[in-house]
């Protein structure tokens, strides 16, 4: 029997979480790999759709991965009754979910970075962009994955069953608002994007368009929004715990 003691616990948990995500979302990873292969084949065959597929993957793949991987983290366990296992332990309820939330984000960042490297390499090989641009595109894919994931967690922690759907709608509305206001350079535009979806900061990291936003400021805005959605999620867990403590 495998040893489950001491310092190897965290290593074991990281590996087991990775295996769990692979097992649970194998169709997602297969579709992503197939799309990359298709895009590469078309790109190198000189067919124009190849470029669109590769660039489309850079935007949609991390976004969908973020939505799918985080879905049901809390809400599924509340519905199945497994939530009770964490409630009875001598620890705050949020501890178990905080551990998994952090691990999911970490692994999601790794998936986005790996995908970014693959797409960057394809783009450079296919003369779509330079090495610097490829690197920035890969870096921009990380917030594109983490932000929707944080939104899903926020909904899930409040017990919303279709957490990924609600997060998707939030992102769609947010991106639409951000798209409309991204051509303005007003305070109101900045505020809308800060509250809805930080399109300008993500674009500033990717360097896809000529955005005047300072890189440090862009990263700060993305981190603030990530922290905000996470906070909403943990408030949801705290609310559940407070309800249980009242009894």
């Amino acid at each position: 029997m495998t040893s489950l003691t001491g310092s190897n616990l965290w290593v074991t948990l990281v590996l087991e979480t990775g295996r769990f995500l692979l097992r649970r979302h194998i169709p997602l990873f297969v579709v992503m790999a197939m799309s990359a292969i298709l895009g590469a084949t078309l790109l190198f065959a000189g067919i124009e759709y190849g470029e669109s597929i590769v660039l489309g993957m850079a935007f949609y793949a991390p976004f969908i991965a973020g939505l799918v991987i985080m879905s049901g983290l809390v809400s599924d366990e509340r519905a199945s009754g497994f939530f009770l296992l964490w409630v009875q332990k001598p620890a705050w309820l949020s501890r178990s979910y905080a551990i998994r939330y952090a691990l999911y984000l970490l692994l999601l960042a790794l998936v986005a970075a790996t995908l970014g490297s693959a797409i960057g390499a394809l783009g450079v090989a296919g003369n779509l962009f330079t090495i610097t641009k490829a690197f920035r595109l890969g870096a921009g894919m990380i917030p594109l994955a983490l932000l929707p994931a944080a939104m899903v967690f926020a909904f899930s922690a409040w017990g919303v069953r279709r957490d990924a759907v609600f997060a998707f709608l939030t992102v769609v509305i947010g991106v639409s608002l951000a798209g409309i206001t991204s051509f303005e350079r007003s305070e109101a535009s900045g505020l809308i994007q800060f509250l809805a979806f930080p399109l300008d900061p993500v674009m500033a990291i990717i360097g896809a368009r000529s955005f005047p936003l300072d890189l440090t400021r862009a990263i700060a805005i993305i981190c603030a929004q990530l922290a905000g959605w996470s906070l909403i999620g943990f408030l949801g867990l705290g609310f559940s715990e407070r309800l249980l403590q009242r009894s």
């Binding site: 029997m1 769990f20 097992r23 296992l85 620890a91």
Partner: protein, 250 residues
């Protein structure tokens, strides 16, 4: 007089945990009206195995939920080691194998055990071997849970419940899905676990299985809780009369 630390990290001054329920009414608040399930008063000493038996829907699970502090008592009080259930649960943990808990099936048993130990604090990992032994988990921990049989899942759930070896263990239909051999050995292991000064309450509608390990057997029926005599358990006609629903019982 030395002061006693009751923080969540220190063991209870007296590690033997008694459970006392005084004139409690269990049930639910529904649209501000009380749906009373059971009225009861009892005291369970540490090191005791108590069986709760009763027909389906009699309120066994509701009583266990109340003892675990997951639903409030409608009246009366429950204390565990002198503390209210919610406070005790947060500080020391309560092992509660609730009926109908479903494991996330893409995880492996090893992943779930690790996560449970880390949730309780890294020191809880020391309890994993004992928890596996008590629960009778003797299968490969690396397989995904979806590949485990119903009995294996039940044993794994029990092992997760037993981390970090709680002083109070509540089991709701723990033998569900187990084969006869596993059932017999589980009863023996529960008995041994309680002999270490722990309190175990087992709810089931199977009287014959529990009578072999229980120090006390309570029947929950018709909204009340009755202590059964050992002689009641050996007389089928007596059991029939106790379990038979009266007119209007659900």
């Amino acid at each position: 007089m030395p002061t006693v630390c009751v923080c969540r990290w220190c063991p209870l001054p007296d590690s033997r945990v008694d459970l006392v329920a005084r004139d409690i009414t269990t049930g639910y608040l529904k649209f501000r009206s009380e749906q009373v399930v059971t009225r009861a008063s009892f005291k369970v000493d540490a090191g005791t195995v108590v069986a709760l038996v009763g027909p389906n829907g009699s309120g066994k699970s509701t009583l266990l939920h109340t003892i675990a502090g997951l639903i409030p008592v409608l009246s009366g009080s429950v204390s565990i080691g002198g503390q209210p259930p919610t406070e005790y649960r947060l500080r020391h943990g309560i092992g509660y194998l609730a009926e109908g808990m479903t494991l996330p099936d893409a995880w492996s048993a090893r992943g779930m055990l690790t996560l449970t130990a880390l949730t309780c604090g890294g020191h809880a990992a020391a309890a994993i071997p004992a928890a596996l032994e008590i629960a009778g988990v003797d299968f490969d921990l690396t397989h995904p849970i979806r590949q485990l049989s119903k009995g294996m899942r039940q044993r794994l759930l029990l092992a997760l419940t037993l981390i970090p070896l709680p002083r109070l263990l509540l089991l709701d239909e723990p033998e569900a899905g187990l084969d006869p051999g596993q059932r017999v050995s589980l009863r023996q292991r529960i008995r041994t676990f309680a002999a270490e000064g722990r309190t175990v309450i087992v709810a089931s509608h199977d009287v014959s299985s529990l009578s072999t390990i229980a120090d006390q057997t309570y029947l929950i029926s018709r909204g009340a809780m009755h202590l059964l005599e050992p002689s009641d358990l050996s007389r089928p006609e007596r059991l029939m009369s106790l379990f038979a629903p009266t007119h209007g019982d659900s």
